[in-house]
């Protein structure tokens, strides 16, 4: 496990990398609301890079290191949320969510419903997508699509530091359980950020961002694939192919109208998603688009995903597996061929 790069703390920074942006989001929300607190493994030592300075500012009661016990820890967060707290749990690497699936699905997602609205569960579960990091199959999962079939959860997958900060702030203020997935491949990206201005900038959940307008092809991309898709769009723009890039930001609930509107204009759809192809969020996008905007479609829709194999350790085997600018360009070209 490699846990670089790490962020520097403090409000004096004018350019924040992804992890520092998340740190600031948590710090700002903790200042704003005494019920917000963070818990996770090795937070006090800032092992994963998004908790620098939190212990100093907020103390060990609100910045809690936890034992290795994912179900117990997430369940504890749920219970605390039910009595008025707003826990943010850093589960660190996303497969560590699996031991807690029962608490997430059967309790966090369902309690409000089962009890007919008597309660709600305002928790945020942060989990990183640690792929493309030489960490082999047990650490490289991108499991946001897992939870798509579970009503009651909100799922956020930001694509850059700026939106990540605003989305995390909104997630913390939201009254429902939010899964917040952080792409490791974005950790080194940064955002210019004037603290005074930005401190209250939130990004709404459930709204897609049109990252680039275009007329010929709609690309819906998730996580670090948004940046790759932007590069692909730029490249193709030089050839006269006009690509619209949409970042859903929240994949559950999904802002499908923004996607449909775009496809009705372009007639073509490519969904880019670093998860495995089968069962992917990209597949859900294709299903919805073809059900709803079929008449507008001029070409077969395309998915650019990771193929259905596990993630191997050896870099020579791992590196070609994920969506790349080239594979996105190829898929877009196919739709306009």
């Amino acid at each position: 496990m490699s846990m670089q790069p790490r962020s520097k703390p403090g409000p004096e920074v004018a350019k924040l990398n992804f992890l520092a942006a998340l740190r600031d989001a948590m710090a700002e929300e903790m200042r704003r609301d005494a019920d917000v607190f963070v818990m996770g493994e090795d937070l006090r030592q800032n092992l994963y890079g998004s908790s620098a300075g939190l212990l100093d500012e907020f103390g060990p009661v609100r910045v809690r290191d936890v034992p290795l016990a994912e179900a117990g820890v997430i369940g504890t967060a749920i219970g605390a949320a039910m009595v008025g707290m707003r826990p943010v749990v850093d589960i660190t690497i996303s497969p560590f969510l699996y031991p807690a699936c029962d608490q997430i699905i059967s309790i966090a997602a369902k309690s409000r419903y089962i009890y007919g609205g008597q309660t709600s569960v305002p928790i945020v579960l942060r989990a990183s997508l640690f792929y493309n990091a030489g960490s082999a199959a047990q650490h490289s999962d991108r499991p946001y699509q897992f939870f798509l079939g579970v009503p009651g959860l909100k799922i956020v997958v930001p694509s850059d530091a700026a939106s990540a900060k605003g989305l995390l702030k909104t997630a913390i203020r939201d009254d429902d359980p939010v899964l917040f997935f952080e792409d490791f491949n974005l950790w080194s990206t940064s955002v210019r950020c004037d603290h005074d201005d930005e401190a209250d900038r939130t990004v709404p959940l459930g709204r897609a961002a049109v990252k680039r307008e275009g007329a010929d092809v709609t690309v819906v991309a998730v996580a670090a694939s948004v940046g790759l898709s932007m590069k692909a769009a730029e490249k193709l723009g030089q050839e006269g192919i006009s690509v619209e890039v949409i970042d859903p930001q929240t994949i559950q609930p999904l802002d499908e109208e923004t996607i449909f509107r775009s496809v009705r204009k372009t007639g073509r759809i490519v969904a880019v998603d670093p998860a495995h192809r089968t069962g992917s969020f990209a597949g859900e996008v294709l299903a919805r688009v073809t059900e709803t905007a079929f008449a507008s479609l001029k070409a077969a829709p395309r998915r650019v995903c990771t193929p259905d194999t596990h993630i191997p350790f050896a870099p020579v085997m791992e590196k070609g597996l994920y969506p790349s600018v080239e594979s996105i360009v190829d898929a877009i070209r196919e739709t306009v061929a």
Binding site: M82, I114, G206
Partner: protein, 325 residues
């Protein structure tokens, strides 16, 4: 012994017994849908533990969900209406028999995934501690649940953070048809408390007063910052795991009969009378009152409307998002 508390304990035990008897009756008449996991035999454990709490304390229960909210003081109308799948049910008809949680009396859910309530009760205790209240959280779970990993994770977390929680095991000797003696690797589940450096107590679950005393001391300890405890009540369910499961042959008739002789309600009544704490007349009156409450609850439920089918889509989210730009 404090007369009024004892009368209330008696009343709640009878309320559980009669409520469930009425539910079984309604099921037989076809007025109820779904399974029913009933509690007869365990009322002493449940009520003894619940009355050791303050009204504003928290409680988390299990799939065997009827007794806990009644023990904690819930009124019967919403519970009965829930069993009968009415829109006036505590859960508006969404939960049913395994989920009779009345949040207005501090119940934070009765969850039907065995073992899943332990972390929730732990978290409620954390919330109580962080908010600077002196509330305590009581966690019911079964002998079967004690083998789940959540038991271990929860007790460890509660112990390291000295959380105000009392883990209360209703050890009725079986998980459906599976005997605890074959699946729990220690004679007394309470003995596991030592592994978390917390006090463990075994109590006679048929003796509501013993349960009360021991849980009360654990609650007091928790309330004053002393941290969690584990209490194991040895008890028994007189009926089958769920109504209708009569074909199972996992326990001897003689064993059931033996335990039935130690009916917690009868034992308590006899003792109250023997010790002259409460008069026969007062006890009879309490039973009569409960009977009336039950009748009222059934009437309330019967005259309540079904949920609108469209309500199936409510309460999925607390905050609905506006999607679309």
């Amino acid at each position: 012994m404090k007369n009024s508390l004892h009368l209330e304990m008696y009343r709640r035990m009878v309320r559980i017994r009669r409520f469930e008897a009425a539910a079984v009756d309604l099921l037989a008449k076809g007025e109820l849908a779904g399974g029913l996991h009933t509690t007869p035999g365990q009322e002493g454990a449940i009520v003894g533990a619940c009355v050791a709490l303050r009204e504003d304390d928290y409680m988390v229960g299990t799939h065997r969900s009827h007794g806990h909210p009644i023990g904690k003081g819930a009124s019967l109308r919403g519970l009965m209406a829930e069993l009968m799948a009415r829109s006036t049910g505590v859960n508006r008809g969404k939960g049913g028999s395994m989920h009779l949680a009345d949040f207005s009396v501090g119940s934070l859910g009765e969850t039907s995934i065995v073992g899943s309530g332990l972390p929730i009760a732990t978290g409620a205790a954390l919330g109580a501690q962080m908010k600077g209240t002196d509330r305590v959280s009581l966690c019911f779970f079964g002998d079967g649940a004690s083998s789940e990993g959540t038991f271990h994770e929860s007790l460890n977390i509660a112990a390291i953070w000295k959380l105000p929680v009392v883990y209360f095991c209703e050890n009725n000797l079986y998980a459906i048809s599976t005997p605890a003696r074959e699946t729990v690797s220690v004679e007394h589940i309470a003995a596991r408390a030592a592994g978390y450096d917390m006090p463990g107590h075994v109590v006679d679950g048929q003796d509501v007063l013993e349960v009360y005393e021991v849980v009360k001391s654990a609650v007091d300890r928790a309330r004053s910052g002393g941290g969690p405890s584990l209490v194991e009540a040895k008890t028994y369910r007189f009926e089958e795991h769920a109504i209708g499961l009569n074909h199972l042959s996992y326990r001897e008739h003689a064993e059931v009969e033996q335990w039935r002789k130690r009916d917690p309600i009868a034992l308590f009544r006899d003792r109250l009378l023997d010790e002259g704490v409460i008069s026969r007349g007062d006890l009879d009156k309490a039973e009569e009152d409960v009977g009336a409450e039950i009748g009222d609850a059934i009437e309330f439920a019967r005259s309540s409307p079904d949920p609108d089918p469209a309500e199936a889509f409510d309460h999925v989210y607390a905050t609905t998002l506006e999607t679309g730009a």
